[in-house]
Symmetry: C2
Subunit: 236 residues, 2 copies
C-alpha cells in the first residue's frame, strides 16, 4: 500500500485513478487531495442498501464540485446478505461505543468496494485506487487497517492484466495514518465544504447527522481538536 | 489456499461453506464434491450482465439438484464498466485461441465474486469459500491461478471479523490442479449431469453451446480425453 506516510501525495501528472467516494468527509477529502495532486479521478460510489442513501446524493454533488473526471454509482445488493446495522433495519445503530468490531460493520464492505474499483480500473487502464480508509480515529473495522490494504494490493497485482503484464496496481490510502483533526484541516485546505458531506450512520433525509453515532462523535471531535468551526448539519 | 493438491476434500462435517456457482461444469462439480464431502453449501451466483444469462437458470437447477442448503443470485452491474466480450456486445467472442489474456476475461471478476462470497460467509459465520477455478485447461485468466487464490485468502483473513478474532478463512479450489478430463470424470462420479451445465461463453437461449469458443473447446476435449460420451448440447 502507498500513502501510509500521509501526504504529500505522489503527483498524478494526469494519470487516471479510481477514487472510492462514499459522500462522507474522509472520502471527499481523499478525492479533493488526489485532484489537487494532479490525478484524473474516476469517482466510484455504491448504492448498497445502506440506511443513509442520502450519502449517495452527497457523493454526486461532491464528485462534481471537487472536479472528478467521471462518477459512477453502482447498485450492489449487500443487504441480501444481512448482518449489519447499516443495511439491516432489524439491527439498531448503537448510540454508545462498544467493545470490538461494532454492529455497524458491513461484511467485507471495503473488500467488495475495492474489488469493484479494481474492475473499473482495469477497463480504464488505471493502476491506482484511492480509498479514504483511516485507522486512527475510526470505528475499529478490520478492513480499514494498513496491513489489510497492503494485502489487498498484493492480491490485486496477481488478479489483473496489469499485474500479469508488469505494471503495478497501487492502493493509496492517504488518510490512513491521520488523526481526525488532521483530516478536518486537510479537508478545509483542499476546498471541501464539510457541510456538503454526510458521515452519519443514520443521517436523516436532508443529510443531517444524528450527532450520537460513532461516526458523528469521531467527526465532531475532529473539529474540536482542529480548533475549527464545525459546520456539520445536525438534525434538531 | 487449500485444496491445491486436488481431492479428496477435507470433510465438512456439516460446516457451512459458500460455493461460487456459475452454472458451468467446473463450478457444478465443485458444488457436488463439496456436498459429498459433508459441507453445508450456500451456493452463490451472479447476474452480472453476461451474454450467457441462461447459465443463471442452469445454476438454479444445479443448486437444487446437487443439494445446496441455499442459493442466492446477486445482481451485479459489471457491464457498467465494459471491457469484456462476455458483457460488452460490441466485443466479439473469438472462435480461435489467441495469445495472452483473452478478450473474454471479465475485469477482476473472480475478485469481485470472491469478495461477495466473503461478505455472505461473514454473515453466515462460515469460514470456507469454494471456487471452481482451474489453472490447467483454462483460458489463461490471471485470477484462476493458485498464487492469486492464496493472495486472496491472505487478504480475506485481514479483512474480516473471523480473521481478526482468530478463525481462519479458507479459499478452497479443489479443481485447480486437475486436467479437464479429470474434472469430467469427477463430475460424473459426483452425480453431475453435464448436459444440465452451461460452460459456453455464448450459449443460446436454450443453454446450448456454440462449440467453437475457448470454453466449448476445452470442455469437449475433456470428454474426449476422459473417454466418456459428451452429452453437452450444442446449437445446430
Amino acid at each position: 500500500m502507498s500513502g501510509q506516510g500521509g501526504l504529500p501525495l505522489e503527483a498524478g501528472s494526469g494519470r487516471r485513478a479510481v477514487v472510492l467516494l462514499s459522500g462522507g468527509l474522509d472520502s471527499a477529502t481523499t478525492l479533493a487531495a488526489a485532484v489537487r495532486a494532479g490525478w484524473a479521478c474516476y469517482a466510484l460510489s455504491f448504492d448498497y442498501g445502506q440506511r443513509h442513501g442520502v450519502e449517495i446524493e452527497a457523493a454526486r454533488r461532491l464528485a462534481s464540485a471537487l472536479g472528478a473526471a467521471a462518477h459512477r454509482v453502482v447498485r450492489l445488493d449487500l443487504a441480501v446478505f444481512g448482518g449489519s446495522a447499516l443495511t439491516d433495519p432489524a439491527i439498531a445503530v448503537p448510540e454508545t461505543p462498544g467493545e470490538g468490531i461494532p454492529v455497524t460493520y458491513v461484511p467485507a464492505r471495503n473488500t467488495v468496494f475495492l474489488s469493484m474499483a479494481l474492475a473499473w480500473a482495469e477497463t480504464l487502464d488505471a493502476h491506482d485506487i484511492f480509498i479514504g480508509a483511516n485507522a486512527v480515529d475510526y470505528s475499529g473495522y478490520p478492513d480499514c487497517r494498513p496491513d489489510y490494504l497492503a494485502a489487498f494490493e498484493a492480491m490485486a497485482n496477481l488478479a489483473t492484466r496489469a499485474g500479469v503484464e508488469g505494471s503495478r496496481i497501487r492502493i493509496r490510502a492517504p488518510l490512513v495514518d491521520l488523526a481526525k483533526a488532521e483530516i478536518v484541516r486537510l479537508a478545509i485546505e483542499c476546498g471541501v465544504d464539510p457541510a456538503t458531506t454526510v458521515s452519519c450512520y443514520q443521517a436523516d433525509a436532508a443529510g443531517r447527522g444524528c450527532g450520537v453515532c460513532d461516526s458523528c462523535r469521531l467527526r465532531a471531535r475532529g473539529f474540536v481538536d482542529a480548533g475549527l468551526p464545525d459546520t456539520t448539519r445536525y438534525a434538531p
